[in-house]
């Protein structure tokens, strides 16, 4: 029995689910309104933006890259989409939720491709490329909008936050579809397997004929596409957009991905874990709010969780790597 328990606990998802459950129980004792139906749905829907970004980040982390421009990408798409729908007003064949999602994804993909070219072809470090891209995109945004907000997104779009089939808000449906698509890509396509291979042993992948540059590009395009989707979801959720949208969200996305099981050294993908990571962060934030803890504590709490999780993950990774190295040493024969 204890063997089964320890085996289960090895899985990151199980640990996260356990922690979430514990936190939920504790919070409910303090503030019973935590488990109200509306609250639960609220937690889920208000974290969809972060969830989509974190999923993309999990993919980017596999080949040991990083992307800190996702907030800026999100803001660009959010502003374009919100300006468009506000200007157009009524939903039509050309401008409706479906086309807006497609537009957002495509725009994001293009932005991601810009990062991809610099990382895969020019081979600049991802951190530098995405840092620079982030400031370029933000600067352009602020300059063109002069810092103004676009608000008053029509109801046919913003209602997707609460309305949906069988009572499930459309944003959650979109999230579910996204997770499914990503899962399919990573586990059921050769391209996705190539991404995993690159994360496991880049030289071996190259030796076996994998086009490394193409894989790097793919990863950033996917991240960009997901940032674009997150931008549309942002507009749905906030009903507005502004050039300073989602500043700093990169950190939370990276944190959620790492909480969910992504290794800082690459090679692992845990989509479910990432979602749980987002959920944990969301639950804690909600718990703090409900417990009457002032808003300004949230940053510190999430920060501490992130640092602890990352440190623990790294220690675990290094111990495993060291054990591997010893096992992998051409052992002296018997």
């Amino acid at each position: 029995m204890s063997a089964i328990i320890s085996r289960v606990l090895q899985r990151r998802e199980a640990v996260l689910a356990l922690v979430i459950a514990v936190v939920c129980v504790v919070v409910t004792l303090i503030s019973p309104q935590f488990v109200s139906g509306t609250n639960v749905v609220n937690i889920l829907t208000s974290n969809v933006v972060l969830a989509v970004l974190a999923l993309g980040m999990a993919v980017v982390l596999v080949p040991a890259h990083i992307d800190v421009s996702v907030g800026a990408q999100l803001a660009v798409v959010a502003i374009v989409v919100s300006d468009l729908v506000i200007a157009v007003g009524e939903a039509s064949v050309l401008v409706n939720p479906i086309t807006m999602v497609i537009l957002g994804v495509l725009m994001g993909a293009v932005l991601g491709a810009l990062n991809g070219v610099l990382v895969s072809w020019v081979r600049l470090p991802a951190i530098i490329v995405t840092l620079g891209m982030s400031s370029i995109l933000r600067g352009v945004l602020f300059a063109t909008t002069k810092g103004t907000w676009s608000s008053g997104v029509p109801g046919w779009l913003s209602s997707l936050q609460v309305k949906g089939p069988l009572g499930v808000p459309w944003v959650l449906v979109i999230l579910a579809v996204t997770v499914a698509a990503l899962w399919f890509f990573m586990h059921r396509t050769t391209a996705g397997r190539n991404v995993m291979a690159l994360g496991g042993n880049r030289e071996a992948a190259a030796r076996l004929g994998v086009k490394v540059g193409r894989v790097d590009m793919t990863v950033f395009v996917i991240m960009g596409a997901l940032s674009g989707l997150a931008g549309v979801l942002y507009v749905i959720k906030m009903g507005s957009a502004q050039p300073g949208a989602a500043v700093g969200i990169e950190m939370s996305a990276i944190a959620a991905a790492i909480l969910g099981g992504a290794s800082v050294f690459g090679g692992r993908i845990h989509l479910a874990g990432t979602l749980l990571g987002v959920l944990l962060l969301g639950v804690i934030e909600n718990a703090l709010v409900l417990s009457g803890v002032p808003v300004y504590w949230q940053g510190l709490v999430s920060g501490l969780i992130v640092v602890t999780a990352v440190t623990a993950a790294v220690i675990q990774d290094r111990r495993a790597a060291r054990a591997q190295r010893i096992a992998a040493m051409a052992p002296k024969e018997q």
């Binding site: 840092l131 891209m133 370029i136 300059a143 944190a255 808003v295 300004y296 504590w297 940053g299 501490l304």
Partner: protein
């Protein structure tokens, strides 16, 4: 002499670029060369230059510190909250210093002893530092420093602001530390080849710890200068400097991989960026476009450098017999 010139080629190019820029901007905006503006320029440079000095050391060691901005905010807020609540200024500043040292130590331990990659470690600690600062400041700007505090930000020694002198002193000190002390050499060597550094008997974790603590100290100085200039402390006081510092460092010829480059080059990089920003500002270009320009320059310069390096490598190897794969190690055959 020729050797000196060629070894510092990047720095000479930068200096030349700076001079050219000076002329260009002064032609476009006659106001540029006014003594008022020059001092404004120097003052603009101060914080960025000091943070850049800190960032330069860390990047040379092969790492990166994304938490420097948050450290500035944290130490400034700490001192402000204490001072506002009646703590004697000297004590408040001492506590601020201790907080800075602690922050640097946390980074240093995570990177040097635990082995967390610097990128992720400092990303995480920046959240913690900013979070702690937010808690202390209740998310608001804190003002109410005693009058004596303003001396740091606003003293003039003759025509020259004291901060400018501090900036120059720190740049010189950092340069001295990195080039003439054993610690500085070790930082370079760790960045150049961390494995060989260990094999050579260098105490890598200890050197890394010292490096991050040093950076934290410099961030503390910036915190004092910034918060005393405006007599206010905010959590996001230092946020703008991280990217610009990294850009200046890289622009100044320091390799992002570590192990090579010169703190002087980074200083020139800061000068160039500030001149550009100042010039653009005088020309009426919005602040936002300025950030775009900085980001774009960073990427363009790095791309150009990479492509030139590749072109050069191609030219040299095509002279020899081409080999399918270049081996880096002569294995036991």
């Amino acid at each position: 002499m020729k050797q000196f010139m060629s070894r510092h080629a990047t720095e000479w190019v930068l200096l030349g670029l700076l001079v050219v820029l000076f002329f260009a901007v002064s032609t476009l905006s006659p106001n540029f060369l006014s003594s008022n503006n020059i001092f404004q320029l120097a003052r603009q440079m101060v914080e960025l230059s000091i943070i850049t000095s800190a960032m330069a050391c860390i990047i040379i060691s092969g790492g990166i510190d994304l938490s420097l901005g948050a450290q500035v905010g944290l130490t400034a807020v700490t001192m402000a909250v204490l001072a506002v609540n009646g703590c004697p200024l000297a004590v408040a500043m001492l506590v601020g210093l201790l907080v800075a040292l602690a922050a640097g130590a946390i980074n240093g331990v995570l990177v040097g002893y635990v082995g967390v990659p610097p990128l992720v470690a400092t990303l995480g600690t920046s959240l913690v530092f900013a979070g702690a600062a937010t808690v202390m400041s209740r998310g608001r700007a804190v003002s109410g420093f005693p009058k004596e505090y303003l001396v740091f930000g606003q003293t003039m020694w003759g025509p020259v602001p004291a901060q400018v002198v501090a900036m120059l002193a720190i740049a010189a000190l950092t340069w001295l530390l990195m080039t003439s002390t054993r610690w500085g050499r070790k930082v370079y060597l760790i960045g150049a080849n961390p494995i060989a550094a260990r094999f050579a008997g260098i105490r890598v974790p200890r050197v890394l710890l010292t490096t991050y603590v040093f950076a934290a100290l410099l961030a503390f100085v910036v915190a004092v200068i910034l918060s005393s200039r405006t007599a206010t402390a905010r959590v996001d006081l230092g946020d703008a400097y991280v990217l610009s510092a990294i850009s200046a460092v890289v622009f100044g010829g320091i390799s992002i991989m570590g192990g090579r480059g010169n703190v002087l080059g980074a200083f020139l990089g800061v000068a160039i960026f500030t001149v550009i920003q100042n010039g653009l500002g005088l020309a009426g270009v919005s602040v936002f476009i300025q950030t775009v320009v900085i980001g774009a320059i960073l990427i363009v310069v790095l791309t150009a450098r990479e492509l030139f390096a590749r072109a050069r490598a191609l030219r040299t190897t095509s002279a020899l017999q081409p080999s399918a794969v270049a081996t880096t190690k002569e294995e036991s055959l």
